[in-house]
């Protein structure tokens, strides 16, 4: 037993990792290569006892000490000395079953699996509470940005009012490139895949699923809401036309895939938590508009502190591993247990706020309508808007490149509701002068 820095750093907590993929290897590296540092920051050694993988034969990019690698989950489950486990398997199963097995066997668990938390949160968190265990999940949202700790702990003197997040790095990389290079969606996706910023099948990233799952987690944490992520209205960037990127720029905006959670106080009873994920025009120069590349950012407005912004890498091996190991340290020293007891995560306690009716969500809109180049067309479009009491802030109409070709009408509205906008667009699309489905996006200053 050696006392260093006044702390007995030979005191150790045995830990394990389940899954040695990209993040798992990063976590192993931090624990093994930087053990002294971790010990200094934790006041104890985090001793990597076991790493469980499915296939022992597969090549790994990380060197583990003799006897650490195993394909037997029971090596962890049955070892009562292993206290903290980083469960780093993706997908829902067997991740869920393993998670529950770990909790049942008395482990505190750390995870980076956002889908697991978003989908099976209620079951997992309830079971952990019943068993007196904890689940930490910093890495499940916004990668290396410690947004879970900031919302769950640092802002505890506040009522959060809005969260605006760029939560999907792949989408943000693609959108930034479309703006910078003026390149079309398909072209940029191919480049993102080459550079490793997009999966071979990027569907979950670009269709808003990933951001909606993360938003559901933040909504639970920040607002005490009980939301099924699949109920969150969402539009991805996979149908985004380069034309809209160009028009947005012309008007001084950038398009971002924003995840929004916003408390709506409405005396008429339509209040609650407004939630959606959608491509949004954000005024250029505003911090969120200037987040480019595969980064994430979250802007928080809260009643005491005002506005905060957190910016950083939303994914990647070491940023995510940084969040996982911070959680492992917090769990080993006992901070997580305290936090977990006080947070109302997916509990059976009554939700403090329900989702508001999306149709009543208020804001300004960008609208692009492809119309025949005939006299009276603008009147028809403005009539459809006027009937829904949507007033127009500005109109952009170019002459067609060739006579007889359809033209683009770009309209910025004053504040209205998502419902009014939806009704107006439905009506427009039935007009004979309107050639394609109108494109609409939220606008944020």
């Amino acid at each position: 037993m050696v006392a260093v820095f006044g702390l007995n750093i030979m005191e150790k907590t045995k830990v394990a990792i389940i899954g040695l993929g990209t993040v798992g290897s990063g976590v192993a590296r931090l624990l093994l290569d930087f053990g002294d540092r971790t010990a200094r920051h934790a006041g104890r050694t985090l001793w990597l006892e076991k790493v469980v993988v499915r296939d022992l034969q597969r090549a790994r990019d990380c060197d583990l000490p003799q006897g650490v690698l195993t394909d037997q989950l029971s090596d962890v489950i049955d070892d009562p000395e292993i206290k903290v486990v980083a469960q780093l398997i993706g997908g829902l199963e067997p991740a869920r079953t393993i998670m529950l097995q770990l909790l049942e066997s008395g482990k505190d668990v750390v995870t980076a699996n956002k889908a697991l938390v978003a989908v099976h949160g209620p079951e997992i968190f309830d079971r952990a509470r019943e068993l007196g265990r904890s689940v930490a999940f910093e890495a499940s949202v916004a990668g290396g940005i410690p947004i879970i700790a900031n919302i769950g702990q640092c802002l505890s003197a506040n009522q959060i009012q809005t969260l605006h997040g760029i939560l999907n790095g792949t989408s943000n990389f693609i959108l930034s490139k479309m703006h910078e290079d003026g390149a079309a969606y398909e072209e940029v996706v191919a480049e993102a895949q080459r550079l490793g910023y997009a999966e071979a099948d990027p569907a979950m990233d670009v269709d808003g699923t990933d951001a909606a799952q993360k938003l559901a987690i933040l909504a639970h944490l920040g607002f005490g809401a009980r939301v099924d992520w699949d109920d969150i209205p969402r539009t991805g960037i996979d149908t985004l036309d380069l034309a809209d990127v160009r028009y947005a720029e012309k008007m001084g905006y950038k398009i971002k895939l924003l995840a929004v959670a916003q408390l709506v106080d409405d005396p008429a009873g339509n209040g609650g938590l407004e939630l959606h994920v959608s491509p949004t025009l954000v005024k250029a120069g505003r911090p969120l508009a200037e987040v480019s590349g595969p980064y994430n950012a979250i802007r928080v407005e809260a009643d005491a502190v005002g506005q905060l912004l957190f910016y950083g890498p939303g994914a990647g091996q070491m940023p995510t591993a940084s969040a996982v190991v911070a959680d492992m340290i917090d769990t080993a020293v006992g901070r997580t247990a305290i936090t977990f007891q006080t947070l109302e995560l997916w509990s059976n306690r009554q939700a403090r706020v329900g989702a508001s009716d999306y149709a009543s969500a208020r804001g300004r809109f960008y609208l692009r309508v492809t119309v025949d180049d005939h006299p009276g067309v603008l009147a028809q479009i403005t009539k459809a808007l006027g009937e829904q009491e949507i007033s127009i802030a500005s109109v952009l109409q170019h002459e067609p490149d060739n006579d007889g070709q359809p033209i683009q009408l770009v309209i910025m509205t004053h504040e209205t509701t998502a419902g009014a906008m939806s009704t107006a667009c439905d009506k427009m699309s039935k007009l004979s002068c309107v050639k394609t489905e109108p494109v609409r996006m939220w606008v944020r200053d």
Copy 2:
């Protein structure tokens, strides 16, 4: 005893506030008006038992329940049921004495007093450790931005490499206004005072003292350094000429008062922690450059997570109160005690890194020299730079407004050292063609 949300929220921790100035009133308001919310986030009620003030007769902008206000510190010291005290008196004395009295009497203490922590940190933190007590100080740096928790806890899997901070809101407000309005320093200071962003005597804010004290705290926390704030080389904005703001803009930069802590790895033995506070040219468009008004921001680069940015209000009643109450909650639930035990704050343990020699700090520089409009002058200036092996990236020289008037030479250098630059400037100022002391500032991309 009533159980709500599965937690027994009638369990209560009695707390007290010393000092009912701006921040103290804000803290009292959060505890009194939002007690239920605080209880929900803490899992227990924070019960405001006493508020100690010097003068009971002075008018207050906050309503306290009967019996809470007192001018007797002993009402707190002698009440063993009061566990957590927010010590919100400014200045060094009697703040230091009261701090020690509170610790001796068994209280855990929360403070927003940056000068106290920076100057008397060693004594206070050592005594707290000896007594088994804790001191929390989130509000002492960057107001509402939870930078202390983020560095001390959330980034514990990392070695931080650089911290670049805009830590003084008054200076940032003034600099932003000089850029936006093209107004001179004195004019903008007067406006800042009218708007309440600058004190009647803003010396500590604008001369770099405030930022250096905050930087010393961050250097302790993030790097395990033991620095006396007064040893940190610092230049304020109080001598900044509007001309430099204009030249910076012309070259695509904004001037920010940056507090820099940067690990320097130097095989020659000049390594260590580079620390300074100085007006710095930051490339426009970079997140730090775009922080305007009375805001603060801290950019952190760390080996695992990469780059993070935290942005928010650096001062103000409710942002600061938000940080104080978060600390009070953390202390009441026991998280602070855990964190305090593992952080190496101002302890007698050996410093992990010493301050590097400022003269060897490397970077690019902006240089403005006022010279006679004679042939051969540029050659003399470039010779002075060349002798120190400073190479020039660009030169800006305007024709004088009137014949015979001195002209401004604006030079951007390639990377060099602070020492070389200092020597070159000393030599230049002795040249007969140089009319005033050369102006130099760091440049950051």
